[in-house]
């Protein structure tokens, strides 16, 4: 394997509170090769969005990154804000969850799409807007119905998300981070947006980091997956492998709790629609994380030694050069699906 596009080594994101510091993200190791599509899944509060923001360098002001965060050979964690600005939007781009508020309401969409090209590629406004026109066509918003001088409020949610996508890919970035890109949209629109993203990535060969809690989306869109829980990656591997085994009890619980995942779970013959099983308890507050396996207190398979130490992200298997790892002392052995 060549040098990965993105590598997190022992990456933590810390938040100073008073005299103490807490790790929102703790000791994460993750690699992302060029052209790969990585899905990051987890409950709210698991740290998946923070991970994305850390990569973009857009963490809330008080948060600090510790460890390595190598993007194409550059350590983003040590990069000056000025240099980082040259990466953002140019080499890496991000699509946000809420299309209704992610666009500036007082600027026409054309200007918002063109802004990045003017900034990074030094194009004139006219050239950049010509390009914005092409981009709009590309994301399925053809002229003349969708002119550059439309304002966000004149578009529906799905259309706005298309504008967001056009804005993100305007400078042909290497890495596209999509943070729950369809969550806020109608179900019918969700599929269209995902198809659009799929096609665009196929066309451009961009690397994708897709953050979602929708397992169905992950299974369709990604070839690799990382399951996060309480600021840590608890299981990672090829999407198929992880879906097949769900070695970490949390992964299994997560799957059982989602409609898509539950569909994948084995069920007794003759049983009707599978019941969704909620995971008992809540994700521990970052302040209250135990010094041992953070899932132990909610885990159905918990054993005594789970409360002794923090499990490492151990290698389970390697498939097509991609390692399947899980941070569990007692990973589930049985395959969910053969």
């Amino acid at each position: 394997m060549t040098q990965p596009l993105l590598r997190m080594a022992d990456l933590s994101v810390e938040l100073p509170i008073g005299d103490t510091k807490i790790d929102i993200i703790a000791n994460t190791n993750l690699e992302l090769g060029r052209g790969e599509r990585l899905g990051i899944v987890g409950e709210s509060g698991s740290g998946k969005s923070i991970t994305a923001l850390a990569v973009m360098g857009l963490l809330p002001q008080k948060m600090r990154v510790r460890g390595e965060l190598i993007f194409d050979g550059h350590d983003l964690a040590k990069m000056s804000e000025e240099t980082f600005c040259k990466f953002r939007g140019r080499r890496m781009a991000m699509i946000f969850q809420e299309p209704m508020t992610a666009l500036n309401p007082v600027k026409p969409i054309g200007a918002q799409i063109a802004e990045g090209r003017i900034l990074h590629l030094g194009e004139t406004r006219a050239d950049a807007e010509k390009r914005a026109r092409l981009l709009l066509d590309k994301v399925g918003l053809p002229a003349p119905r969708f002119n550059l001088d439309l304002y966000p409020h004149q578009l529906s949610g799905g259309q706005r998300q298309r504008v967001m996508i056009a804005t993100a890919i305007a400078c042909e970035p290497d890495l596209l981070i999509a943070d729950e890109p369809t969550t806020a949209l109608d179900v019918t629109v969700q599929a269209q947006i995902l198809d659009l993203l799929n096609d665009l990535i196929d066309d451009t060969g961009m690397t994708l980091m897709l953050i979602t809690h929708d397992l169905g989306v992950v299974s369709e869109m990604t070839n690799r997956i990382a399951v996060m829980y309480a600021g840590r990656v608890v299981e990672t591997g090829r999407t198929d492998d992880v879906f097949a085994r769900m070695a970490h009890p949390y992964a299994r619980g997560l799957f059982a709790a989602s409609p898509h995942g539950a569909g994948l779970m084995p069920r007794p013959a003759g049983a009707g629609r599978p019941r969704l099983t909620a995971i008992p308890g809540v994700v521990p507050d970052p302040f209250e994380r135990p010094p041992y396996c953070t899932f132990a207190d909610r885990c159905g398979f918990v054993r005594d030694d789970c409360r002794q130490s923090m499990p490492a992200l151990d290698l389970l298997s390697t498939n097509e050069g991609i390692e399947h790892r899980a941070a569990c002392l007692h990973p589930c052995e049985s395959l969910v699906r053969p």
């Binding site: 509170i17 008073g18 005299d19 103490t20 507050d285 302040f287």
Partner: protein, 289 residues
């Protein structure tokens, strides 16, 4: 663990804690207290008589004897400012009481009844806002004659639409709430609902507005007496002192400085008090912090 989690876990902190936590409120309370104390003390004691003329000591610069200097009649400026505080406070209190006393019921009725009553009340307040307030106050005092009482009325009139709008705005939303609707269905009169459910829920908004209007009234009173339409001699008033000072500004600048400082100090204190009250009373602001 950390104090942040403690506050998160602890229920609403007590009112004393909240008051002390707001720097604005503490400073505002202190300044307002000094202002009121100054006015009250002036009833029983001032360094010199604020009205007695003493040409032998006219236009003296600030000194140990006359902290703020003397004016062209030889009167002690500090004493005049102390007595002037009385006038400012009295005019402002009445102006706010007039404004709130008429404006709040108007706003409450507008919100409760809606329809044409609401329309009339709001158009009337639009109209009132269209006139530059000072100008109308000048005309009002021209009609009724200058003096502290008429200044109170003139300023009070301009407080009416302010209170009407604030009351209406704050209570409109409440009328749509379930418990209010329920009370209505139960046959409660609008007056009773307003008294029982609406006003108690908007009193923090009104309290904040009262402090703001109080501060504005002090400025307005100073403005009116500056143009000679406020309190009349021998009663000292800050605005008139400023006006009198203007011809002496070359030779006796202290005459122009201290009354202005007094106005600024008073308004600053009341504004801080208003901000502080909003900090601790308005749930929206509290959440933002």
């Amino acid at each position: 663990m950390s104090n942040a989690s403690n506050t998160a876990i602890a229920a609403e902190p007590g009112i004393v804690v909240r008051v002390l936590a707001s720097r604005n409120l503490v400073i505002g309370l202190i300044v307002t207290f000094i202002l009121i104390a100054m006015a009250l003390v002036s009833f029983v004691w001032t360094p010199f008589s604020p009205t007695a003329l003493n040409f032998a000591e006219k236009l003296q610069a600030p000194s140990l004897r006359h902290w703020f200097g003397t004016d062209n009649f030889g009167r002690d400026v500090l004493s005049m400012i102390m007595v002037g505080a009385r006038n400012s406070i009295a005019v402002s209190i009445v102006a706010v009481v007039v404004g709130a006393g008429i404006g709040v019921p108007l706003g409450a009725v507008a919100a409760a009844r809606g329809g044409w009553i609401d329309g009339v009340v709001m158009r009337m307040s639009d109209l009132a806002f269209a006139f530059p307030a000072l100008l109308t106050a000048v005309i009002i005092t021209a009609i009724f004659g200058p003096g502290a009482v008429n200044a109170m009325i003139a300023i009070g009139i301009f407080n009416i639409p302010v209170f009407a709008r604030v009351t209406r705005g704050a209570s409109m939303g409440l009328w749509k709430r379930e418990y209010v609707q329920a009370a209505r269905c139960a046959g409660r009169s609008d007056t009773a609902i307003t008294a029982l459910h609406i006003l108690p829920n908007i009193n923090h908004v009104l309290l904040v507005q009262v402090t703001i209007q109080f501060a504005l009234a002090i400025v307005a009173e100073a403005g009116l007496s500056y143009v000679g339409l406020g309190a009349q001699p021998p009663m000292p008033s800050w605005g008139k002192m400023l006006n009198d000072a203007q011809t002496f500004i070359y030779d006796a600048p202290w005459l122009a400085i201290f009354p202005g400082l007094a106005i600024t100090f008073a308004v600053l204190g009341l504004n801080l008090l208003g901000d502080g009250l909003r900090d601790i009373l308005d749930p929206k602001v509290r959440r933002q912090r």
